[in-house]
Symmetry: C2
Subunit: 385 residues, 2 copies
């Protein structure tokens, strides 16, 4: 096992009816900004529950945080917080709204141009407004971690930052609030959580059996529960299990003490920045090819994955590995997420542009062994055509 630090102070309030507990976790004298996305929370009842939970506080709203939240939009929220002297933020939505709220929290009292927060990947954050979240879309894990990804549209750049000052104070996870999600978002969320686990699990062995088994436990549960969520959108336990899986997939626990990859995410980010693909779509395109191209470096863990997650024990090593990757790809397709560049009308002609973006973002030695050069990324993209 590798040396590690683990720290995660976010309070989780999980279950039916928990939005009412906002009254206990938001200070009674708070001046609150409620941040959200496209407005579905106004039609599905979530917004009314939130307002009831915040009764007695001064509340402002900021709508319109887009998927892949943009620096440009978020800076308008920063201005509103400054102007109205608000002191508590509440993100209501999925990972994009929560990621965006983390940026706003750090930017409000930042000295100088807040773009520097993204340039320095969050290392220069010295304070942040307190904030909580109401999760309505299980996927990214942002509700229980200190990471965020923000897009600057004018530069076509998707940039990740993190700092322990931007852990949510609390996150409320009510599975019933995910019942009305479009099928596409359920599928995306399950694929996203699955890829998060794989980035931390599918590297090389360091004798960390607990981390391995926790990761496998999440993968097995996503494989079992994902299709059930598509078939029975209002099955509470299915939604609860997916929701808790997605949170645990990226709260720091399964990655503590083990190497991590994240090359699939980095290549995927460029696909979103350049062509607007959903985050999960980019992961579904890149991950299977990434595993195939880098099979040798990941051989031992791929064989363990084949056996423990997919119950594949027959055939040569190479056959078992290929079968496990194939099953992974089929699972993504089963969740409604296509796995080929061609499915999104992208082809050979786009690869140079993607590589150029990777290079301009200095993403030229990715992965747990820092051996994913631009040449390797090219092979991965070519295999995903």
């Amino acid at each position: 096992m590798l040396n590690f630090d683990f720290y995660n102070p976010t309070q989780i309030l999980f279950g039916k009816g928990r939005i009412a507990d906002l009254s206990k976790v938001v200070p009674a004298d708070a001046r609150v900004l409620v941040l959200y996305g496209g407005g579905s929370i106004k039609s599905n009842g979530v917004f009314d529950e939130v307002m009831a939970g915040l009764a007695g506080r001064t509340v402002f709203e900021f709508a319109g945080i887009e998927p892949n939240p943009s620096y440009e939009t978020l800076m308008h929220a920063v201005e509103l917080v400054r102007k109205e002297k608000l002191d508590f933020l509440l993100a209501v939505g999925g990972g994009s709204v929560i990621d965006g709220t983390k940026f706003v929290a750090a930017a409000v009292n930042f000295e100088g141009d807040p773009w520097a927060i993204l340039e320095k990947r969050g290392r220069n954050i010295t304070q942040a407004l307190p904030f909580g979240s109401i999760l309505t879309l299980p996927a990214t894990g942002s509700e229980m971690n200190d990471g965020s990804v923000v897009t600057r549209k004018s530069l076509q750049a998707k940039v990740a930052f993190s700092n322990k000052l931007v852990f949510p104070k609390f996150s409320i996870l009510d599975p019933t609030k995910t019942f009305s999600l479009p099928v596409k978002q359920i599928g995306n969320g399950v694929v996203d959580a699955y890829a998060h686990v794989m980035e931390q699990y599918m590297t090389y062995p360091v004798n960390a059996p607990v981390q391995d088994r926790f990761a496998e436990g999440l993968l097995l549960t996503l494989i079992e529960e994902g299709p059930k969520a598509l078939a029975n959108p209002e099955d509470y336990d299915t939604r609860a299990n997916i929701m808790w899986c997605a949170t645990l997939a990226l709260n720091g626990l399964i990655g503590a003490g083990v190497p991590q990859d994240w090359s699939t995410h980095m290549v995927g980010h460029e696909l979103t920045a350049l062509y607007g693909l959903d985050h999960a779509q980019t992961l579904a395109i890149v991950l299977p090819s990434m595993l195939r191209v880098r099979k040798e470096g990941k051989r031992a863990k791929l064989l363990q994955y084949a056996e423990r997650v997919w119950n594949i024990t027959e055939g040569s090593e190479d056959a078992r590995i290929e079968q496990a990757i194939q099953r992974t790809q089929e699972f993504f397709e089963k969740m409604g997420v296509k796995t080929r560049l061609g499915d999104y009308k992208l082809g050979t002609q786009n690869i140079d542009a993607i590589l150029k973006h990777l290079e301009s973002h200095r993403m030229v030695t990715l992965g747990e062994q820092r051996d994913v050069t631009l040449d390797v990324s090219r092979k991965v993209l070519e295999l995903s055509l």
Copy 2:
């Protein structure tokens, strides 16, 4: 899955050489009390590393916190902290030292007689001194939770309390510091951690597959690594895996959203209070009989346990269950912890006294279904003769 709250703000610093990081996590101007047990830390080098990490701070020492830390001893530490106006506590040792430090932290500024903290099970704690821990004995999980058990010798009472104000600010887990532990303490620690998992896992199903798989992952790892730790005391990875298992066994994670039992612990506490048995010894005596006597209420999970943890798939349900319990008992014995009352020179003549103590502590409806009456506890003890 049941509704739940999860909150755990303890920072973990895990790995070789981490005691040096004390200089980063203890305030530079702190007036520190270092609390420890019998003094082995003075002969094995840990104390010197701690003092080096605290260089520049004012440091006092308090030695002599006993296994099953006593109220009487801890109140002397409280007096010292008050007299010298100390403002930071550092527990160096195992669960007893950390549990004791939690009590001291809560008692120092408590208004009124601190015994009330134990009488109210910690609900009346309104503040606590900040404290950290250096763990030298993996077992109880106290390094990453907000629970504590204190014994009042004069009353022969062993009382648990908890409050989120007594989470350690940080805990340093350096597996190399466990190399010199006596074999008995390794065995006890593994059995203790195993029993903690079982109290949260072996109840009835609530459709919580992630919690089940995490619990099974811990059990499987303890079964694999425990005997290796006895055979090769200086194998780093073995010690690291056991240490992380013991922490995760009782940090709130695997018990979130599922029913919990804890009757084995409650009956065991009386054995320690009355006859001075090690905590782990009491668990090894009580747990197998508890599972046998309450087989019907736990049938579904016992069958799952037999299959997933012990790979038992053949035979009638009752045969599989009995075999799984037998294997559990054999595992405890293999770790050097005897599983019968008779092994500790206790017999039929002691049972009435144990039950009387349970009754006086109002432990008359224990377990996840509150159906462990004194009659059930009697059957359990008789089966453990």
